[in-house]
């Protein structure tokens, strides 16, 4: 595969699956860390392009690459970011980017993401995959787990997320 082919496929995938990367980045990081993780996800996807086999579904492949990159994302970058944020805060610069819209829906979304970020990393990944409509069998293949294990974990996570959101929705009112 030439570099031009790699770039062309990367652009095609990114245009089609940007939402998936957006969900993973928000589900695993917030603030300026989110930007670092997004760049890490893009790099992982670009690097993975030549390894893609036509027999597989691009969406499954992208889910695996993105979630793998997020799960193994190096925390050292976070420490660096924290230092930058502290410095920027001291220097009086605004680093927090407010959401594009302050609608109720947006607020709820931020709460869902915040709640998901509280979960253990593998659980975080499973609930994100489930919300993105990935089936149990596909999730099991992506993570190297059994389908029944995925089912048990997801039932617990759905319950946990719903319960937490009920409490938060109450506070919002």
């Amino acid at each position: 595969m030439t570099i031009h082919e790699q770039n062309a496929r990367f652009e095609e995938w990114f245009a089609q699956h940007a939402a998936v990367l957006h969900h993973v980045a928000n589900g695993f990081a917030d603030g300026t860390d989110r930007h670092d993780l997004m760049q890490e996800l893009l790099l992982a996807m670009w690097r993975a392009v030549p390894a893609f086999r036509q027999a597989a579904q691009p969406s499954t492949f992208i889910f695996r690459v993105a979630h793998n990159a997020a799960l193994t994302w190096k925390r050292s970058r976070k420490n660096y970011r924290e230092r930058v944020e502290r410095f920027e805060h001291l220097a009086g610069r605004e680093t927090h980017v407010p959401p594009a819209s302050d609608s109720r829906e947006n607020e709820t979304l931020q709460l869902i993401y915040a709640q998901i970020r509280q979960f253990a990393p593998v659980d975080r990944s499973l609930i994100l995959l489930h919300l993105d409509g990935v089936g149990y069998a596909e999730m099991a293949a992506i993570h190297g787990l059994t389908e029944s294990n995925v089912g048990v974990r997801l039932n617990r996570l759905k319950h946990k997320l719903t319960h937490a959101m009920k409490g938060l929705a109450h506070e919002l009112r």
Partner: protein, 205 residues
């Protein structure tokens, strides 16, 4: 709010990046990628050039010494053989580590679980690499007195060799070892714990 409500909010247009956001992320990524590429090429090029130059010089001098320069009598100056063998021992050790890793984790792309296990093994290999490099540096510092003794015995060196051999080189070894042990403790061990914890999440069910 029930799970269906959560799913509905999840599927709303607010949870999708705007075309402008996508474009911005892409442009930032391209800039980052170009920066990383330039850095890698520069580093690899410099290391290769330095190694090739040093190896070439030594081999050339052993095979056909330049006129005016003293030849090397290996029966009296054999100390340089183990000294120059050290980088090769390190290189072979690293190649073996790399091959073992590739063999054991050939199917690392099969699942995230397998990828994490492969990353943990990569971390182990890196820790072994640090130990090998540390051991080789210590051996090199211990070998230097022998080389100095041999060079002085054949009259190729005088007192001027004592300072670099007994102060500069051991000092450099100590600095590198201190830096490496700090990196080992501050970066490699926490990463190991992080990956082990992640693997544990797969095993705990």
């Amino acid at each position: 709010m029930n799970f269906a409500d959560i799913q509905q909010t999840w599927g709303s247009p607010s949870n999708r990046p705007s075309p402008a956001q996508i474009e911005t992320e892409k442009m930032k990524f391209i800039a980052d990628l170009n920066r990383r590429r330039r850095g890698n090429v520069l580093f690899l090029g410099l290391v290769f050039a330095l190694l090739a130059f040093m190896t070439g010089k030594v081999v050339l001098h052993l095979v056909s010494p330049a006129p005016g320069l003293a030849t090397v009598d290996l029966t009296q100056e054999w100390g340089i053989i183990p000294f120059f063998a050290l980088p090769w021992i390190g290189w072979i050790a690293m190649l073996r580590l790399h091959r073992r890793h590739r063999r054991q984790h050939a199917n690392y792309q099969g699942s995230i679980n397998a990828s994490v296990a492969a990353l943990l093994d990569e971390n182990r290999s890196e820790r072994v690499r640090y130990k090998v490099i540390g051991a080789l540096l210590i051996v090199s510092a211990l070998l230097l007195p022998l080389i100095v003794f041999q060079l002085r015995a054949v009259g190729k060196a005088g007192n001027e060799i004592l300072f670099p051999a007994f102060v500069l080189w051991p000092g450099y070894v100590v600095v590198v070892l201190l830096w490496a042990s700090s990196h080992y403790r501050r970066k490699l061990l926490p990463r190991k714990s992080e990956l082990e914890a992640l693997l544990q999440q797969y095993r705990s069910g």
